[in-house]
Amino acid sequence: MKEAVAFKQVDKIFNNETIALSDFDLTVHEGEFVCFLGPSGCGKSTALRMVAGLGEPTNGEVEVFGHSPKELIQDTNDIAFVFQDANLLPWKTVLDNVLLPLRLRGGSKREQKKEAVRVLKMVGLADYLKAYPRQLSGGMKMRVSIARALAAKPKLLLMDEPFAALDEITRQTLQQELLDIWQKEKMTILFVTHNVFEAVLLSTRIAVMSARPGRLSSVIDIDIPFPRPASIRTNPKFNEYVDLASEKLEGRQEREEAK
Amino acid sequence: GNEETGSAETEGEDQKEATEETAEIEPVKIVLNWFAQAGHGGIYTADVEGYYEENGLDVTIEPGGPQVSSVQMVASGSAEFGLVHGDQLLVAKNQGIDLVALAAIYQNSPQAMMTHKGHEIEDFGDINGRTVFIQSGIAYWEYFKGQYDLSNVNEIAFTGDHTNFMNDEESVNQVYVTGEPYFMEQQGIETETKLISDSGYNPYQYVLYVTKDYLEENEETVKKFVSAFVEGWNHFKESPDTTLDEIHEVNPDMTMEANEYGMEVGKDFIFVGDAEDKGFGYMSEERWATLIDQLTEAGVLEVEIEASDIFTNDYLTES
């Protein structure tokens, strides 16, 4: 399989001397679904932003489909990003916000609108097409943002805690939808979450990070076949993975705290 | 004497006598009609030579400027004395502002129309069909409109800038012969001028005036001021040099040469006519009456004005 994303010994140090990432090394292949788990402030968002070409490593290199991300996003728009905050244009309606990436790309307006309405229906916002972002609840805004990313049918999808503001039911529905889309479209997904269950449910691999400086502490391959319905949570293998991930996560932190 | 006055006035009761003595030095202000120039010579002479002080006055001379209205300043009491043109005095009177002329500086008006050399006007009727830079609302232009056929004049407001005149050979520009022709020459532009007074419209210019109320209540002060004023002019006529230096000091951007030119040319408008035999500043009722008639005819004046009302020579006789 081809490499989709490669972090090559990446350091990221901000001007105020914060070391956000240190010696970060990870390769993600095309079609993978990798979840990032790690304490708050360990550099997950920073890593995703670099993949999207929105930040540059201080040392090392990030490659996306064999190119530097900046080059890549200048050629295509095959990357979509669900930011940690919804990041909607306040002067556009929900529908127009979702249409934005499609419109930027050009093409048949009717098709685009149909597609936008479809994804909005999927995230449960069919009744809010004409609403402005300020008229939405926090979870609804996040769902618009998710719809916007999905509508663009990207080859590489970056999601930064997309479901954190959602209730369990909505979250489960969207998890299944996301898995469906991922399999159908054969996209590559990098997904940040704090929810270990979610990470195990969704991913082919989990990248566990530790903080200060942000490092990759371990990588866990999740060997559960797809499709994975919600009911898989009762599967003992599932729970083993959950325990393993939690352990890696906590262990790392505890060791640090002990220091 | 300025400082002494100030300190004396702030002293206590027991110094009252001293205060009364120094109070004879009376502060007054005169607003000019433009930045200081040769045409204000005598006013500065009186200051430089100390004539005001001798007459018990502490005079502040405040130069005017493009938009400074001396009439309004005097009428509102922010200055006691002012300078305006004769016709402006009548225009003010027409608005109910009671002013009285005390002395005229220019016996004859130095106002003129300037043309490029080779494009002279013989008669003001020749202006018709040409471009004229003239101040909006100026009285003699209204008079001209009645006297000559100016229906085809391209009338453009004159704002003090001559660039467009210089750029257009055919154009005509309002000027004072005491100034602009000289400046044009300096730039190598040859010009001709034709005096407005050739048309028979010849107001007194740079007229010293006060309000009627002020005159009635402060006759002594007025008398003292006018006498210093006349004395200043008489001295200026004989030896202008120190005064011109002073004027250059006050208005440094105006060159010394320009001041001298202004004085040379101005002399022939100031110290002539009635000034020669009846003394500096003299005004005749007949000429005021003519002006009133001309302006009434031009429609500038709407109220009846008695010539004898508008001026007085009474304070000139002293010297």
Binding site: N87, P90, W91, Y132 | E155, I156, T159, T163
Partner: protein
């Protein structure tokens, strides 16, 4: 559930009707009472001050003098107003269009902005009287020059505010557009201009009040003569002829025009922004 929705709505409607009767008086009290009182006080003070200070009408006219003068010379004032309105509206449009286009151009490249923006400041800070002769030589005395001068006087607030607005785009939204590989013009059109709208409108509001002043100064400087002039010309003549009440009437006419113009632009701005910007939207709680 559908029923309960209707129920609820009808409950609200009832409440609304009860409120409606007092509505007119309430809005009047909240919105217009203050301004009306202020206006009355203003006029009263203006009427009284000259009387108390014993100022003559030719020095400081009372409102009654001004109204008198305006009525008497209405036949002069009215055409002047019309001319000035024409000039200022055109001046405003030219300024708005050129100002915004120029800002967009400058904002599209840092190098351009750094290289050219200083000349915009230069145009603003160089005294108009210094360049007026050249303007008149190039554009002829009269209308064209007035528009050019009015442009020079009021375009800087537009360009300055617009440029600031275009450079104040939310960083996260900017990232979004980078990510979607938006072209320069897509970014400009879909992100920077909408974000800048509040600033642009603020610039236009300042600029529109300068429109009337610009036209008047333009008339004054560009040498409209011979009675074809607008308020600027009238003011000059009134000043020369010491017709102070009429001069004030001209001034007040200009101010009223300016305020109306402002209110118009303000209304427009409000309509544009109310759906999303804090300064214009009615926050619902």
């Amino acid at each position: 559930m559908a029923m309960s929705t209707t129920e609820l709505t009808s409950k609200v409607v009832k409440k609304k009707i009860n409120v409606k009767q007092n509505r007119f008086w309430d809005t009047f009290r909240a919105v217009y009472l203050g301004p009306v009182i202020a206006f009355i006080l203003f006029i009263a003070a203006w009427q009284l001050v000259p009387a108390i200070l014993g100022l003559q009408p030719y020095i400081f006219p009372k409102p009654s003098d001004v109204i008198n003068a305006a009525v008497t010379d209405w036949s002069l004032l009215w055409p002047a107003i019309q001319i000035t309105v024409g000039e200022s509206v055109l001046g405003f449009i030219v300024r708005g269009v050129i100002g915004i286009l120029a800002s967009v151009l400058l904002a599209s490249s840092k190098v351009l902005e750094r290289s050219i923006y200083p000349y915009a400041i230069l145009l603003q800070t160089i005294p108009v009287v210094a360049v007026a002769p050249i303007v008149v030589i190039w554009f002829g005395a009269g209308f064209n020059s007035i528009i050019v001068i009015s442009f020079l006087i009021g375009f800087f607030p537009v360009i300055s505010n617009t440029l600031l607005g275009l450079n104040s785009v939310d960083k996260n939204l900017d990232d979004l557009f980078t990510l979607y590989n938006a072209s320069k013009w897509q970014r400009m059109w879909r992100l920077r201009i909408p974000s800048a709208l509040p600033y642009i409108m603020a610039g236009l509001k300042i600029s529109c009040t300068l429109s009337i002043v610009g036209a008047i100064v333009g008339e004054y400087i560009a040498g409209i003569g011979g009675g074809k002039g607008g308020i600027g010309y009238s003011i000059t003549v009134a000043a020369v002829q010491v017709k102070t009440p009429y001069l004030f009437a001209c001034g007040i006419a200009a101010a009223v025009l300016g305020i109306s113009f402002y209110l118009l632009v303000n209304l427009f701005s409000h309509l544009l922004l109310r759906s999303w910007h804090e300064s214009a939207m009615k926050v619902e709680k």
